[in-house]
Amino acid sequence: MTTIHAPRPTALEVQTDNYLTHSRGFLSWALTLDHKRIGVMYMVGVLASFFVGGMFALLVRTELLTPGQTIPGVTADVYNQFFTLHGAIMVFLVIIPSIPAALGNFVLPIMLGAKDVAFPRLNLGSFYLWVFGACFTLVSLAMGGFDTGWTFYTPYSTTSPAGGVIPVLFGVFVLGFSSIFTGMNFIVTVHKLRPPGMTWFRMPLFLWAIYATAIIQVLATPVLAITLMLLVIERTINIGIFDPSMGGDPVLFQHFFWFYSHPAVYIMILPAMGIISDLISVHAHRHIFGYKFIALSSIAIAIFSFLVWGHHMFISGQSPLLNTLFSLISFSVAIPSAVKVFNWLTTLYKGNISLTTPMLYALSFLVLFTIGGLTGIHLATLNTDVHLHDTYFVVAHFHYVMMGSALIGMIGGLHHWWPKMTGKMYSEALGSTACVIIFIGFNVTFFTQFYLGSKGMPRRYYDYQPEFQVYHVISTLGSYFMASGFFLTAYCLISSLIGGRKAPANPWGGGSLEWQCDSPPPHDNFATQPSVGDCYDFRSLRWDEATQGYVIDPVLAAEAAKHPLH
């Protein structure tokens, strides 16, 4: 092991030589090729979009407090725009780029021991594509918004009178290319920029997850792009490919859309699974259990994700043969997912668990993902899906996996790497309180919706039967509680920037390479090439009171070297 805590530069030098202070001025950020700065810029953009998308969610929930109109001025049409914007912003601007583009950009090259991603200019380009895509979405709001639902189903999307449909289609098209280029960059980086010693099976599991995600991004997103182009053409010059009155086929649109969008839900969840693998192992201070199974299950999920899209179309007119096939294949996704959950639980078992904020998020993930995943089985079953399709049961299910799992994983990862990104420690008390509030608020909001859905409350409805009101009120109150948790998180993180204690290089006791460089990392990531070992072997780490962080103890390291784990 290299002695990274051996002769250190003085404190002053450490402060001046990090990626944040390396150069100054607006252009040094706007034109940066540094993956860390690009990651931070993504993070700022994603969190801002999360705020906007969250506001729309609160508006939707508030409107549903009473049957009929609740907020003055919010008619059914405006309500349609609210939930469409909430969905489109959260999916395309927040969840899809959140972990791969924001956290992944920051962490991936450092974890790998590389100086940068393979194509730094392309990386900056894909960030600007994200910005353009976001701008198009804003333009569409100015041009009359869009009310098609985030899925842009025909014929809603080809006939909706809202003026903003074409700009938002262009926006999502551009966002798709941002996602494609990020994925390409990461695949090449993982293939080509692994330093000597970093073999495939020594990579942290987060990298495996990002790699599997990148495969999906590269293979699935182009199909979305061409589908959206066809929609734009259909809407402008009316070619009729999706229009039954002209010989077209609207179900074909759904095939096209879900060929991308089902893999896309794994673009959202896979990186979160990767984060959770790392969080659980690091904060339980125990070697990850079943490393290869978790790694390969990520790849398996990526492949399976392409074979199950039809389960979104069970009642859309899809043929019984395909319904049966897709139902069967959908069940099989449960296998690699369950492999992961069992391995995480086994890692926790007899672990030395520190209930830090990231660990609380990881535990929340375990609970919420299990609920979300198991209710997915209900929906993959043909006959129950006929009853549950397009009800609040589906809404609750995908919020448990998209928000309760993907976003919670992202927030957990943000807390995990926050000291590394900013060089500041946040208040554990505030952070963990916020996590508990979010967890409770989330379950109050969405567990209620399982009940609502199974009783027959359809999704996307503006009005409802009075007997549903009590559940809607509970759900809305839960969403307010959850929102307060997010605001507390924001306060906790932002206040740490101002008054936070300086972060040590390794505050949690992580074994992967990013914990071997300073917090925040220097411009070139590593002063010297770090040594690559088993990143889940924590036996050589020791808590150091002086730096309030973990350091590599030479004695323990020598002892560990004598007894290799495998």
Binding site: L33, D34, A114, K115, D116, A118, F119, P120, R121, L122, I180, G183, M184, N185, I187, V188, H191, K192, L193, P195, P196, V218, L219, A220, T221, P222, V223, A225, I226, T227, M229, L230, I233, I237, N238, I239, G240, I241, S245, M246, G247, G248, D249, L252, H255, F256, H523, D524, F526, A527, T528, Q529
Partner: protein, 323 residues
Amino acid sequence: MTTLPTTHAAPHDAPEHGGHDAHGEHAKYPFLQHHFDTPAHQFGSAKLGMWLFLATEVLFFGGLFVAYAVLRARFPEVFSYASHYLNTIMGGVNTCVLILSSLTMALAVRFAQTNKKNAMLLCLVLTFMGAVGFMVIKYFEYSHKIHQHLVWGKTFYVPPDDAGGEAEKLVLSKAPELPAALVVANPAGPAIPAFEPIPAVEVSAIKAANKAPSGLSTPREQAKEEGLPVASHDAALEHPSLHLSDPKMPANTHMFFAIYYCMTGLHGIHVLAGMVMLAWLIWRGARGDFNSNYFTPVDVGGLYWHIVDLVWIFLFPIFYLIH
């Protein structure tokens, strides 16, 4: 982003890199970026990146190929019929133009590898000329078809200068009768005959393939023979929707042209993008950026150009060569 060769050396201006640098490689090869060890490392990464991009291109076009397959399976008679309005000669010439430009592109890569700057530039210019030639032929094909009103969507049946909708009525008047079973089930059926695909179109009834390029001028004669309404004055010869009087026209013929314009149009956009890329390569090549050690842009640019060729290799038979 500037593309000056000096910036290839170091996007970051940090002088010190530790560790796994192959010492001296960066000093020896000024084009080598700071995070790659050797020229081969950089070249291999660029190639892998390009191949991944080509994979996205395959899936991008793939969506349209799937749409094509679904439509063709649904309306085989439409594809068999409408294909004869495409000019096989022009399509065949365009195929040859693209194949030759692919060959010159492959030669350009070889000349770049062997430090033959002028030969490389000549080949790049020839490739560019091939792209121009392709687009010119494409322009004539498109303008001819649009003039003949072989277009997409409902406008296929309603020419812009046909205010009275005569042409459309003509189509509907020739639409096949519904099968009796359907008429019983749906009394409104006969009002919407245009949607009924012709159950069976005998292949021999369609105009002989070798007459296809001139097929556009025959319907009027046929129409006269068959006593269909044809405007008597000479201007009718210029009527942009002569296909409408073709008695063999199956329902939903516009679908063929919709997918035809989508696929060849998207391909055309890729050719245009390829022309921009080729111009950039010629500019950089003329400046002397490429040599046997550094020709990555020519190589990956060539890969892009070949995939444009590859797509056309499939587009040609599926549109022009339907018997």
